[in-house]
């Protein structure tokens, strides 16, 4: 790694960094992804609603509006190439009063201006025809037919994995603390490692302001906004088919109730400005709020079936629009900042837009004949029928041994996750890639075995296996 010069250094291993990296490898560019954490998808890409937004919400003529309209279909295409589950389940934005109903008209018009035609305003009864568990108090809804759901961390893992398969290098535990420029960029990590690159793409999410300031660019002010979620057991997953929104407020799109691609039910998020993006606590108030407001939309949700709660931090800013372009303070330093909602929807359109920005500042981009945009499906095994599984187990016995009983994940699938780009290195990494420990027992049964597999695959002691890197050790010492 040391003294290798890359053409582009991408700072931040989130979904934006992932998709930008994948695009860059499409052109055969020599790149490195620098990630502060010990795995990818640890920021907002890990903890968000996982929604493919239809495009009715952004103010017309903003970057958000443009990239959202372009982004929906691009995301569906990329997800399918990357074998990431994505589903066009449609969404309903619900109005509970005449006043809110008027707001739906505004959203409809805005959507129309943004070029979105898959919209229809329906009355409460029609909405309840589409969603039988919807509240009787819903008087009207905006039906967003092009909207969908996707698993955000899986998309991130897959995009970075695909970029790596095509030659990108990922360096984790690389917290960028200094950037010097003397012709080329010299990027310095907290532990003194250095990486050199001709161009830098700053997609450090909630930390993108801090990264920009390292090159003297103080124009980006990120206002971290925390959102708390409650995730429910698959027993609740069928409660709704569409993603159920409430009429948005200035704080965001409000509390949603949505199925996930994995069959759970997701409720949330709240929206509260926090002092630091590291502030990922859940609160009693926040959880109560999610509970109460979700029940307003779908009164039959059984919150006794919550399996976990979590907080994600959005990288918002005052201006309210994405900030994408070369820094005014530093040539060849590209900011991709303030990517809050609908950032996930726009991840591919943003990546393509960034290619144009890079071309504009002189990076030569020619399609590489070697690029392969398809990623092997890490979930090939669970999609097999019993006969196919039986055959596969004969030559791959570890796939026959179930380790995570709640989600039915085999030892073979877990080992695969530790060996495949980007390799999982800890319990949470295996969990995000395989769903082991994501079910109703939350790893109570399988975590000792998952620990053992990680230790074996990585050739380390169990004491060195962590939950999510750093000092998050699980066992202290051999007795």
């Amino acid at each position: 790694m040391s003294n290798v010069k890359y053409t582009v250094a991408v700072i931040g291993g989130g979904v934006i960094g992932g998709m930008i990296s994948r695009e860059l490898t499409r052109y055969g560019v020599k790149i490195v992804i620098l990630e502060k954490g010990n795995d990818v998808a640890l920021g907002a890409s890990k903890a968000n609603s996982g929604i493919v937004h239809g495009g009715y919400d952004p103010e017309p003529n903003t970057l958000k509006a443009k990239l959202n309209t372009l982004g929906v279909e691009k995301l569906f295409k990329a997800a399918s190439e990357l074998n990431v589950p994505i589903k066009r389940n449609g969404s309903l934005v619900c109005a509970f009063s005449e006043e809110e109903k008027a707001h739906l008209d505004l959203l409809y018009k805005r959507g129309f201006e943004n070029g979105i035609t898959a919209l229809e305003i329906i009355d409460g009864d029609k909405a309840r025809e589409l969603e039988e568990n919807l509240s009787e108090s819903v008087v009207a809804a905006l039906w967003v037919k092009n909207a969908g759901i996707v698993c955000p961390y899986e998309l991130t893992v897959a995009s970075i994995g695909n970029a790596m398969d095509n030659g990108a290098e990922l360096i984790t535990d690389f917290e960028v603390v200094g950037i010097n420029k003397d012709g080329v960029f010299e990027i310095v990590s907290a532990d003194g490692r250095k990486v050199f690159a001709d161009y830098v793409v700053n997609c450090a999410g909630a930390y993108s302001g801090k990264i920009a300031s390292l090159v003297g660019d103080d124009s980006i002010e990120i206002i971290p906004r925390a959102g708390e979620y409650l995730l429910l057991d698959k027993a609740e997953g069928g409660r709704v088919k569409h993603t159920i929104f409430q009429v948005p407020t200035k704080d965001g799109k409000g509390i949603l109730v949505s199925p996930t691609v994995d069959g759970n039910l997701l409720t949330g998020p709240t929206a509260s400005v926090v002092a630091s993006p590291d502030n990922k606590e859940t609160t009693a108030d926040g959880m109560n709020k999610v509970n109460t407001l979700a029940l307003k939309s779908v009164p039959t949700v059984n919150f006794r079936n919550v399996i976990t709660s979590f907080t994600g931090v959005r990288a918002s800013n005052k201006g309210g629009d994405f900030v994408i372009g070369e820094s005014a303070a530093c040539k060849n330093f590209i900011n991709v900042a303030a990517i809050d909602s609908p950032g996930l929807t726009c991840c591919v359109s943003i990546a393509e837009y960034v290619m144009d920005v890079l071309k504009g500042v002189g990076l030569k981009l020619e399609l590489s004949a070697d690029f392969n945009g398809t990623r092997n499906d890490p979930h090939f095994f669970r999609k097999m029928n019993d006969d196919e599984k039986n055959d596969f187990i004969k030559s791959n016995p570890t796939y026959g041994r179930i380790v995570c009983r709640c989600e039915g994940i085999s030892e073979g699938e877990m080992r695969y996750a530790v060996k495949t780009n980007p390799p999982a290195s800890d319990l949470d990494g295996v969990k995000r890639r395989t769903r082991a420990g994501m079910g109703r027992c939350q790893g109570g049964f399988c975590s000792p075995t998952v620990m053992k597999l990680i230790a074996e695959e990585r050739g380390i002691g169990k004491e060195q296996v962590t939950k999510n890197g750093g000092g998050s050790y699980i066992v202290t010492e051999k007795l």
């Binding site: 995730l231 606590e281 976990t308 187990i393 026959g400 027992c441 000792p448 050790y473």
Partner: protein
């Protein structure tokens, strides 16, 4: 294993046991403390010893064991699909006995606010890491929940040199056995705080501490009582949930109170030929009773296979005043003496249980003490049971 042995001894010798672990014995294998077998075997054994007793019985009879094999589904026609490192197995059974046990309620299900550091374990997970894997999980411990596993782990962590700062119980009484409170907490000077919960979890990487607080009678945190305890480990012993995913998959009717299947006195569910016993049916406090229940199910399954179960005189057994649930939920009024099991709704002093069918008193029982943590058993005599002219109901009166 107890059910398999009982079925075998009842004349059905074509029995297989399927277990997901590499060794049979289930959760007993990690319960290295003693106290098992006093009622059933007249000896005080450790968990592995108790399991080994049955393992030897299984081996003696040459009963086939598919270990390291996970059942993926059971159909109402009793086709069992399982997987192991040799491939996918499909077995057609005449009767199936479900004995999958429980899982522990997780942190997520409790909605404890705060961060998500490492060092938060279910008590059983920590027990496995310590007793089976041989690793220490932490040095300074708070335990939430005073169920038996929590109490046992308080002692276990102390023996490994950890300091157990507190055991917090959200209810005004412990859900554990009295003997465990004495032997695991009092003997080690570990404080038990009743009507107290963990209100917040702190730490970004490893756990650095918890905020505990008293709760009011609606189990809501009293903010003025919050206090911080530094610790690196939080163990959760906050309830067991019968693992009935296979049961539900087979379309078997469930009891919302026990979390297990609705069964008759033979422990047969409402799907003919599928039986359930042990913690997957109801959470037990003593393994001895688990074995008893397994034997009932094993014999019941054997009778079913032999075509002997012709009972058509079943009535419902329901919980009345002061009783949380009654099991079995259906009882044959023309059978032999029948034991029914129940739990009370709250701690009581001296109580009298009355089992009635309409106005007919079928049985009464007086207990000096009754707590939700200890399962009660009442025997219904065959001759009295015959007088039942409809559903039977169990009520508790304080004396």
């Amino acid at each position: 294993m107890a059910a398999a042995v009982a079925a075998f001894d009842s004349g059905i010798t074509d029995v297989v046991i399927i277990d997901r672990e590499k060794e049979v014995g289930g959760i007993l294998r990690q319960c290295i403390h003693n106290g098992f077998g006093l009622h059933k075997l007249g000896r005080e054994l450790t968990g592995p010893e108790y399991a080994n007793h049955y393992k030897l019985e299984v081996e003696k009879r040459g009963i086939t064991v598919y270990a390291d094999t996970t059942v993926l589904s059971v159909t109402p026609d009793k086709v069992v699909t399982a997987t192991n490192t040799s491939g996918i197995l499909k077995l057609q059974a005449k009767a199936v006995i479900l004995a999958m046990g429980c899982r522990e309620r997780s942190r997520g299900a409790l909605n404890i606010p705060g961060t998500r550091p490492s060092g938060v374990f279910s008590a059983g997970c920590a027990q496995k890491l310590i007793n089976c894997e041989g690793y220490s999980v932490g040095k300074r411990v708070v335990i939430l929940g005073s169920g038996d596993i929590g109490l046992i782990m308080a002692r276990r962590m102390s023996l490994e040199g950890a300091k157990v700062e507190a055991v917090c119980e959200i209810m005004p009484y412990s859900g554990g056995l009295t003997r465990n409170i004495v032997q695991c907490l009092e003997d080690y000077g570990i404080p038990l705080y009743l009507s107290t919960t963990v209100a917040e979890i702190h730490g970004n990487e490893r756990l650095t501490g918890v905020t505990i607080a008293e709760v009011d009678d609606r189990r809501q945190v009293k903010p003025e009582t919050k206090r911080y305890i530094p610790c690196d480990t939080l163990l959760l012993s906050v309830g067991l949930i019968p693992e009935n995913e296979l049961t539900r998959g087979a379309g078997i009717g469930m009891d919302p109170i026990t979390g297990g299947a609705v069964v008759d006195e033979n422990r047969m569910t409402d799907v003919s030929g599928i039986f359930a016993c042990g913690n997957v049916l109801q959470v037990h406090d003593l393994v001895d009773y688990v074995s008893d229940e397994a034997e009932i199910a094993g014999k019941g399954a054997a009778s079913y296979v032999k075509g002997l179960d012709k009972a058509e005189n079943r009535v419902k057994a329901v919980a009345g005043n002061g009783v949380r649930y009654v099991l079995p939920q259906r009882v044959n009024t023309r059978g032999g003496d029948t034991d029914i099991f129940l739990r009370v709704t709250a701690p009581f002093g001296k109580v009298k249980f009355t089992v009635k069918s309409g106005d007919n008193v079928i049985a009464t029982a007086i207990k000096l003490r009754a707590t939700p943590g200890e399962m009660e058993k009442i025997t219904l005599k065959a001759d009295k049971l015959r007088t039942a002219n409809g559903d039977i109901r169990v009520d508790l009166e304080e004396m």
